[in-house]
Amino acid sequence: MSSPGRDARDLTPESAAPTDIAPLGRPPEKPAHERTGAEDAALADWEGIEADPDFVSLLKAKAAFVAPATAVFVVYYFALPVGAGWFPKLMETRVWGAVNVAYLFAFSQFLMAWVLAFLYVAVAAGWDKRAAAIIAKFQNKGAE
C-alpha cells in the first residue's frame, strides 16, 4: 500500500500526488515546507547573504524589471474597463469591418500578457545564474 519514502503515519489517501495536498496525520518530524524560520535558522548564514553586495544587486535587478513590468500591465489592463466604461463612443469606433476598437483592445491584452511573460522568462534566466553563484560562494565559505 504505502509507497517507499512515505511516512507510515501519513494517512492521506494514497492516490493523489503528494504535492497536491498537505499530508494528513502527524509524522514524527515536521515536513520541510512546514518548518518555521526559527527552526531553519541554522541552515545557512542568512544575514551574511542578505548583506552580500551580489545579493543586494540581484534584488535591485529584479526590482528594476518587476516593478515597471507590473506597473505597465496594471495600467494597460485597467485602461480597458476605463475605456469601456467612460469612453464607449471611442471604443465602438469600427476599425476593420464590424471589428471595433473595444474588441481589438481586448485582444491586444492577450498579446500584452504573452509578451510580458516571455520577457520575464528571458530576463529571469539571468537571475537564476546570479542566485546560483551567490549560493555557491557561501557554500564554499562554509566549507573552508
Binding site: G25, E34, A38, D40, Y77, A84, M91, F110, A124, I135
Partner: protein
C-alpha cells in the same frame, strides 16, 4: 420545465448514454495514468521528469473550470463584449501570479499560504485565519461548479429537476472524496485540459464553418443580435459594443480588480507552484499555462459570440439558460455525439475541480485548524486528523449544495467564480504580499488582514444588487472596496503591534525567496 421538455426528443437518450460513456472513459484514463504516475517514491522524482508544458497543462486544467467553459460562453452569449472582459481578466491575472507570488512561494519551499505565513509569524493564529479563508474561498468556488453541474445533468436527464441534479451531483462528489480519496489531480487536469482544448478548437471550427471561414462575416453578424427584453420588447443590440451588462463603469473596474488580483490568492492554484522542481520550471509552466489558457480564452470569441449569433439569447434562455450556451451550440452544430462529448468534458472538469477543492479545503481545515491550532500540533489518536478532514469534506459539500440550490440554475457560474476571486483577492493577497515583501509585518497584521478582507468581501456581496432587492452596495463585485480594506486591515494590524522575532527572520525569508537556497530540501519529503 421548459428546458427539459424542449430536449426530451427521442435522440436524448443517445446523448445521455454517450455522456455516461465519455465520463466513464475519462475517469478510467485518469485512473490508470494516476496509477502510473503516483506511488513512485515521491512526486518529485516524476516532477523532475515532467516538462514545463505538462506542468503548464496541469495549471491550465486547474484554472479552466466550469466557470471558464460554461460560464464565459454564457456570459458572452447573453451580454456580448462585457462577457469577453472575463476572458481577458482571467488571463492577465497570470501576470500577477508570475511577477509577484509564484517564485517567492516556490523558492521558499512552501506548500500553502498558511506555510508562508507561519514561517515568520506565530503559527497558530495565522494558520487558523488562513484555514478559515481557504475554506470560504473553496466553498464559493464549489458553489459555482455545483450550479454548472446541476444545469448540465438537468439537460441530459429529462424529468430531473435542478434541485435533484445538484443534490445528486453533490452527493456523488462528496462520496467520491470522502470514501475514495482523490485520483492524482495532476493527471486528471492534464487529460481534461487536452480534451477541453480539442473540444473548443473543434467547436470554434464548426462556428467559423457556418460563416464560410470569413471573419468579417462572423463579426458583422454580431452587430445586430435580436433578443426579447425583460418586459417582452424586442431588442436588437450590437454585441461587440461594451456596456450591455455593466451599466455602471465602476462595476467593470471592480470585477477587473477581483480577477487580476484574485488568482494570486487562490489556494488550489498556489499549491501548483510547489509541484515543480525549480524556479525555472515554475516560470516555464506559468508561461505554458498562459499560452494554453490564452488560446482557450481567445476561442471564447468564437463559441461565446457564436452562440449569440447562431442560436441567440432567446433560444438559449429556453434551452438550459446562461450556463448551457457552449453545450447547446455543440448540439446545434455537431449533433448528439458532440453534445455528449462537450457535456462530458464539462462534467469531468467539474468533478476534477470539486474533488481538488474539497480535498484542499478539508485538509487545510483538519491540518491547519484542528490539529495545529486546537491540539497544538499533536494528534491525540492516530487517524483523528483524517476523520476531521472527512467530516469537513462532508460539511463543505453540504454547504455548497445548499447554497447552489438557493441560487438556482439561472445564475451564471463565471459571475459566481468572480465572487470567489474577490474573496481570495481581498483576504489572501494582502497578507501574502506583505509577508513576502514587508519586514515589519506582524501576526496581528496577518490575522487582521485575513479577517477584514474575508468579512468585508462577503458582507458586500450579501448586500449587493444580486442578493438584495434594494441593495446597500451598488456594485456586483466587491473587490474595489474589499481589496483596499484587506490591505488596510493588514497595515493597521501591523502598525498597532510589534514583533521583533518576525523581523529578525525576514533576512532568511528574503534570501530563500530570491535564491531558492534551502528549498531543495522539500524534495526529500
Amino acid at each position: 420545465m421548459i428546458a427539459a421538455a424542449a430536449l426530451s426528443a427521442p435522440g436524448d437518450r443517445t446523448a445521455l448514454f454517450m455522456f455516461l460513456a465519455f465520463v466513464a472513459a475519462t475517469l478510467v484514463i485518469t485512473y490508470f495514468s494516476a496509477r502510473k504516475s503516483s506511488g513512485a517514491s515521491a512526486y518529485f522524482a516524476a516532477g523532475r521528469r515532467i516538462t514545463g508544458w505538462q506542468n503548464g497543462l496541469a495549471v491550465a486544467g486547474d484554472y479552466m473550470s466550469a466557470a471558464s467553459f460554461l460560464g464565459i460562453a454564457g456570459m458572452i452569449a447573453f451580454n456580448g463584449y462585457d462577457g469577453f472582459m472575463y476572458s481577458v481578466g482571467f488571463l492577465v491575472a497570470y501576470l500577477t501570479v508570475l511577477f509577484v507570488v509564484a517564485e517567492p512561494l516556490r523558492n521558499a519551499g512552501k506548500y500553502t499560504m498558511a506555510d508562508v505565513l507561519a514561517y515568520r509569524l506565530k503559527p497558530r493564529p495565522v494558520r487558523a485565519a488562513a484555514a478559515l479563508s481557504t475554506l470560504t474561498v473553496s466553498v464559493f468556488y464549489m458553489i459555482a461548479q455545483m450550479v454548472g453541474a446541476g444545469t448540465l445533468v438537468r439537460q441530459l436527464i429529462p424529468g430531473v429537476s435542478y434541485e435533484m441534479a445538484v443534490v445528486g451531483v453533490g452527493v456523488l462528489m462528496v462520496v467520491y472524496v470522502v470514501f475514495g480519496g482523490m485520483l492524482a489531480t495532476t493527471w486528471v487536469q492534464i487529460i481534461k485540459a487536452i480534451l477541453l482544448m480539442s473540444g473548443s478548437v473543434f467547436l470554434s471550427i464548426l462556428v467559423l464553418d457556418k460563416f464560410d471561414f470569413d471573419l468579417g462575416k462572423f463579426f458583422t453578424s454580431l452587430t445586430a443580435i435580436t433578443s426579447t427584453g425583460a418586459n417582452g420588447e424586442i431588442l436588437t443590440r450590437d454585441f461587440l459594443a461594451p456596456g450591455l451588462l455593466f451599466k455602471n463603469p465602476w462595476d467593470q473596474i471592480s470585477l477587473g480588480m477581483a480577477l487580476v488580483f484574485g488568482t494570486a490568492g487562490l489556494p488550489h492554484i498556489l499549491i501548483r507552484f510547489y509541484t515543480v522542481p525549480d524556479a525555472k520550471t515554475a516560470r516555464a509552466s506559468v508561461v505554458w499555462a498562459m499560452i494554453i489558457i490564452g488560446l482557450f480564452y481567445i476561442m471564447t470569441t468564437f463559441f461565446g459570440f457564436g452562440a449569440a449569433s447562431l442560436l441567440g439569447p432567446d433560444y438559449l434562455k429556453a434551452h438550459g439558460g446562461t450556463n448551457m450556451a457552449a453545450p447547446q451550440l455543440a448540439h446545434e452544430l455537431g449533433g448528439e455525439v458532440f453534445f455528449a462529448f462537450i457535456s462530458a468534458v464539462a462534467f469531468a472538469t467539474i468533478l476534477a475541480v470539486v474533488a481538488g477543492l474539497t480535498i484542499s479545503a478539508s485538509t487545510s481545515f483538519a491540518h491547519d485548524f484542528f490539529t495545529n491550532v486546537i491540539h497544538r500540533g499533536k494528534e491525540r489518536r492516530p487517524g483523528e486528523e483524517v476523520k476531521v478532514a472527512r467530516i469537513t469534506a462532508f460539511v463543505v459539500g453540504a454547504a455548497a449544495i445548499g447554497i447552489a440550490i438557493l441560487l438556482g440554475p439561472g445564475v451564471n457560474v463565471a459571475f459566481l467564480v468572480g465572487l470567489a476571486f474577490a474573496v481570495a483577492a481581498s483576504a489572501n493577497l494582502p497578507v501574502i504580499v506583505f509577508s513576502i515583501f514587508w519586514k515589519r509585518f506582524t501576526t496581528t497584521g496577518a490575522v487582521a488582514g485575513l479577517l477584514v478582507g474575508l468579512v468585508s468581501s462577503i458582507a458586500l456581496i450579501l448586500v449587493s444588487p444580486d442578493f438584495m432587492k434594494t441593495p446597500w452596495f451598488p456594485l456586483k463585485n466587491p473587490a474595489i472596496i474589499s481589496i483596499p480594506l484587506g490591505f488596510l486591515g493588514a497595515f493597521l494590524g501591523t502598525f498597532l503591534s510589534r514583533e521583533p522575532s518576525a523581523e529578525k527572520l525576514f533576512a532568511e525569508l528574503k534570501v530563500r525567496a530570491n535564491t531558492g537556497l534551502g528549498a531543495e530540501k522539500a524534495a526529500d519529503h
